[in-house]
């Protein structure tokens, strides 16, 4: 175990409408501590100095709840691939380094305080169609719906999304296409999801566009994603959205005739 001596530049902002700025802190930390444990230590020291600790979102600290996430030297969740901030450990850093820590920067994610942001837009996207309508008790026997293993595996690849928002933070346009595509394709790939596929595709994309920028295929999102979700899902979403526009219009016509 080594002890690292680090300089931190941390974004401090008192509230959504307050002006923010960087503050500089020095910290010594064992390299087997996690990044958030390093922030805990800074907070203990701020406490001892009579100052207010840094506010940051976090919960499970095992990379699955998606609550945490900060920009570390301009990278969402920091330098290690496929790793959420809470699972990033200090052995990824060198003694003497200066680390810049900021909140997610995106118009769709307004800052609440310090490193904490509001990601409610993600919930609105899911509410617009990111589900399969099945009232409790209405389900057939689970094995009555065979799902080809490949489809199931791909759906699981998409469903692994933890909703942290790193994709949006990493995108130069603050687009939420990777998140929306993952949520959508998880369901669109499965037989159970077919009945609502076209209404879901249209509703989710249009809800997304109310909050976030447009995708221009930079691919930063998949690099930042702690679950390494592929941008192939964005291509699938684009295909489904385009098709949905036609299918849904045709269905509208069918309804009028019928």
């Amino acid at each position: 175990m080594n002890v690292l001596k680090l300089t931190l530049e941390v974004w401090r902002q008192d509230g959504p409408d307050a002006a923010g700025g960087f503050e500089t802190y020095a910290v010594e930390i064992p390299d087997d501590a996690s990044f958030l444990e390093m922030l805990d230590k800074v907070n203990e020291e701020l406490f001892r100095a009579g100052k207010e600790p840094i506010t940051f979102d976090h919960d499970c600290r095992e990379g699955i709840c998606g609550t945490c996430g900060v920009m570390i030297d301009g990278q969402a969740h920091g330098p290690q691939k496929g790793t959420a901030t809470c699972q990033l450990h200090m052995r990824q850093f060198r003694s003497g380094q200066t680390i810049k820590i900021e909140p997610w920067r995106a118009a769709g994610f307004p800052v609440v305080k310090d490193l904490m942001v509001n990601r409610a837009a993600f919930d609105r996207i899911v509410e617009s169609g990111g589900y399969i309508t099945v009232t409790t008790g209405a389900a057939p026997d689970a094995n009555e719906i065979p799902v080809p293993k490949d489809a199931s595996d791909s759906a699981m690849d998409a469903a692994a999304c933890i909703g942290c928002g790193a994709c949006v933070a990493a995108c130069p346009n603050s687009a939420a296409n990777l998140f929306t595509a993952a949520k959508m394709q998880h369901l669109n790939l499965l037989p159970q999801g077919q009945a609502e596929r076209w209404s879901r595709s249209e509703a989710m994309v249009e809800k997304m566009e109310e909050f976030f920028g447009s995708c221009t295929n930079h691919g930063e999102c998949q690099e930042a994603c702690p679950k390494e979700i592929s941008i192939d899902f964005i291509a699938m979403m684009n295909r489904d959205y385009a098709k949905a526009k036609l299918v849904n219009r045709r269905r509208l016509g069918e309804r009028k005739v019928g």
Partner: protein, 642 residues
């Protein structure tokens, strides 16, 4: 005053109780449901499932979570799987066998009728989740795959890679999102419940704090459902998420709800051992690893050699040696205690000698690295990220850590607490796991309570209140609760002492872990009972909560939670002291077999201990109420996994 502990178990044979009861329960007609307001606190498996289902049925639901999104609740972290008695494997499983395994696994300290219902409903859960699009693992034919889990000799566990809890929670969250969209459920995120409002002996609402503005609010409802999880963070270090807390259930306890079996906590055998004093939480490695990993320690003491340098003959595969028929798949409590024994003997491994090896070398040899990678790849990666060691090459180091709490609010067969109108679902109640929970059963219980049991039994309660309005929030019952809550916050803000909330949480955790952890004895428990109240007093006179109460203040959120943990800890230890037998996760050193296994005392302790709030001097004021347990269908035996 003592509590009335009527478990309300329906008449009739075990197999028919739930069906009969559903017929006997009063119904609320579809056109009347919108006249009822229902409050659901918590959005984990139990809460999200209950809120979604009640919304679908047509009730007006308000759901509360302190997270930014309902999807973040800690159910999301469950890795291994969910049990169901589907018998898709044709290996002899049945509803009765799942029931039997759960009763036996719980060391005969749970209610037969509840557990049987859980096993029955397990069939519907898998159907429901598969239809929602939960991507369970599948065979090449497209049908569902299963794996086996500790404490069972059949493969009945359904799973979604190592992220089963995540996928089940997302299923429930999506169902909830649909109801929010339709307007049947109103979501209150970043809102923490700080009190239950009780009027004329029944629950009529809750008091909450908006975590962004600090504002205290009253919410009124015909019924309140607490789906707020367990109290494992009383140990400070646990596998629970950082914010998991006991406040909702503890506040209910203080308002009159019986708290049952608080000494029953599950220590999970396969977690990564702590590395140093900065450690903030412990990380679980799924129990499914025990399917292929072999657990061992060196035969010699204080052995500092690397694992690869210890020859086969100098290794002790102690679980395989002591329990030949279950081997590495013994239940969690047995696996945990044995790990503690070998580490206490001085045979622990790793730099701090605080773990045991979980070795995959044989499995890799037998199945090939790619198979092992497919089964556990993400877990191995996680282990490497945390420890910097590669488990394909060196064995993992594991050690037990607090994981789940079987105790919780006392509930009857309807999941109603001793306060009418107040229900507890999921880990928040005590009902189904007795003194020890089997792997892959927590997800099952959360969803059983949330999707199927709660919505039926809550309707039975609501039917009696048809034609009444929810108590208005300007009623004195609400303002008293608001004042009391505001007073608690003000006192914490005004102490202005010297030490941080975390400091006190850590100190509390040490006491509870040392004296009321994996193994307990009278002297230690008494010591804890003298130390905890002193620490609590010190907390209230010396803690300092920085910042202000009228905005985001994570220290204040934490202070309110730790204050309640201080009280719960005392009751937990009190309960452990009174239960002079060993059972499941509660191991009293005074009560063991010659071989060192847990020894129950069915003559004196075959009951549920439901504690009643008596006053601030908890260890002396708390009143013990007993619900005797009777067993009609299973024969009580000393558990043996030899």
């Amino acid at each position: 005053m003592t509590l009335t502990l009527d478990p309300q178990i329906p008449e009739g044979p075990l197999e028919d109780k739930w069906d009969n009861h559903k017929f006997d329960l009063k119904l609320v007609a579809p056109n009347n449901r919108r006249r009822f307001e229902v409050i659901v606190v918590g959005t984990g498996l139990a809460g999200a499932a209950a809120a979604a289902t009640l919304g679908e049925l047509g009730y007006n639901v308000k759901v509360f979570t302190y997270h930014d999104s309902p999807r973040r609740a800690h159910s999301i972290a469950a890795q291994g799987g969910i049990n169901s008695a589907k018998n898709y494997r044709n290996d002899g499983d049945s509803v009765f066998r799942l029931f039997y395994d759960t009763i036996k696994g719980g060391d005969y300290r749970s209610r037969e009728a509840n557990v049987y219902r859980l096993a029955q409903v397990s069939l519907n859960i898998i159907d429901q989740c598969a239809a929602q699009g939960v991507p369970f693992a599948r065979e090449y034919g497209g049908l569902l795959d299963n794996r086996s889990f500790g404490g069972a000799q059949v493969a009945r566990t359904f799973y979604a890679r190592g992220q089963t809890g995540q996928q089940l929670l997302l299923g429930a969250y999506q169902a909830l999102a649909r109801q929010i969209h339709l307007g049947t459920v109103e979501l209150h995120n970043r809102t923490e419940m700080l009190d239950v409002v009780v009027k004329d002996g029944r629950a009529v609402g809750i008091t909450t704090r908006d975590l962004l503005t600090g504002e205290l609010e009253s919410h009124s409802g015909h019924a309140v459902l607490l789906c707020t999880g367990g109290y494992g963070n009383v140990y400070y270090l646990s596998t629970n998420a950082m914010a998991c807390n006991v406040t909702a259930t503890w506040r209910a306890h203080r308002k009159g709800a019986g708290f049952a079996n608080p000494c029953y906590t599950q220590i999970h055998p396969t977690c990564i051992p702590p590395s140093d004093e900065t450690q903030s939480k412990l990380t679980l490695m799924s129990e499914s690893l025990r399917n292929d990993g072999r657990i061992w320690v060196p035969k010699g003491y204080e052995d500092n050699r690397a694992a690869s340098e210890i020859p086969e003959g100098e290794r002790d595969y102690y679980l395989e040696r002591k329990y030949p028929s279950f081997g590495n798949l013994v239940p969690r409590d047995v696996a945990s205690r044995n790990a503690k024994t070998v580490v206490d003997e001085g045979r622990g491994v790793g730099p701090l000698h605080n773990g045991v090896y979980l070795d995959f070398a044989h499995a890799i040899e037998r199945h090939g690295r790619s198979t092992i990678e497919e089964r556990y790849g993400n877990l191995f990666d996680m282990y490497e990220r945390i420890t910097g060691e590669n488990p394909y090459e060196t064995p993992m180091r594991i050690y037990p850590a607090t994981h789940y709490t079987m105790g919780g609010l006392w509930v009857d067969y309807n999941l109603q607490t001793t306060i009418p109108g107040l229900f507890a679902l999921g880990e928040a109640n005590f009902s189904d796991h007795g003194a020890n929970r089997l792997g892959a059963s927590a997800l099952m219980q959360g969803l059983s309570d949330g999707y199927f049991v709660g919505p039926s039994t809550v309707a039975g309660y609501l039917a009696g209140w048809l034609g009444t309005e929810a108590v208005p929030t300007d009623d004195p019952a609400f303002s008293e609760s608001l004042d009391e809550t505001r007073g608690r916050i003000d006192s914490l803000m005004n102490v202005n002492g010297t030490s941080s909330v975390d400091h006190y949480h850590r100190e509390l955790g040490k006491i509870v872990w040392d004296y009321c952890g994996m193994s307990r004895n009278e002297a230690g428990l008494k010591k804890a009972l003298s130390e905890i109240p002193a620490l609590r007093e010190q907390f209230w006179s010396d803690v300092r909560v920085p910042g202000r109460a009228d905005g985001v203040n994570q220290s204040l959120e934490n202070a309110l939670r730790v204050a309640d943990f201080m009280e719960l800890a005392e009751l937990k230890v009190r309960d452990a002291l009174h239960r002079e037998e060993s059972c499941g996760g509660h191991f009293r050193e005074e009560s063991q077999t010659e071989e060192g296994e847990a020894k129950r005392d069915d003559e004196n302790f075959s009951y549920v201990a439901a504690w009643e709030w008596g006053g601030e001097d908890i260890q002396n004021d708390a009143v013990l109420n007993k619900e005797p347990l009777s067993f009609e269908r299973v024969e009580l035996t000393q558990r043996s996994y030899k």
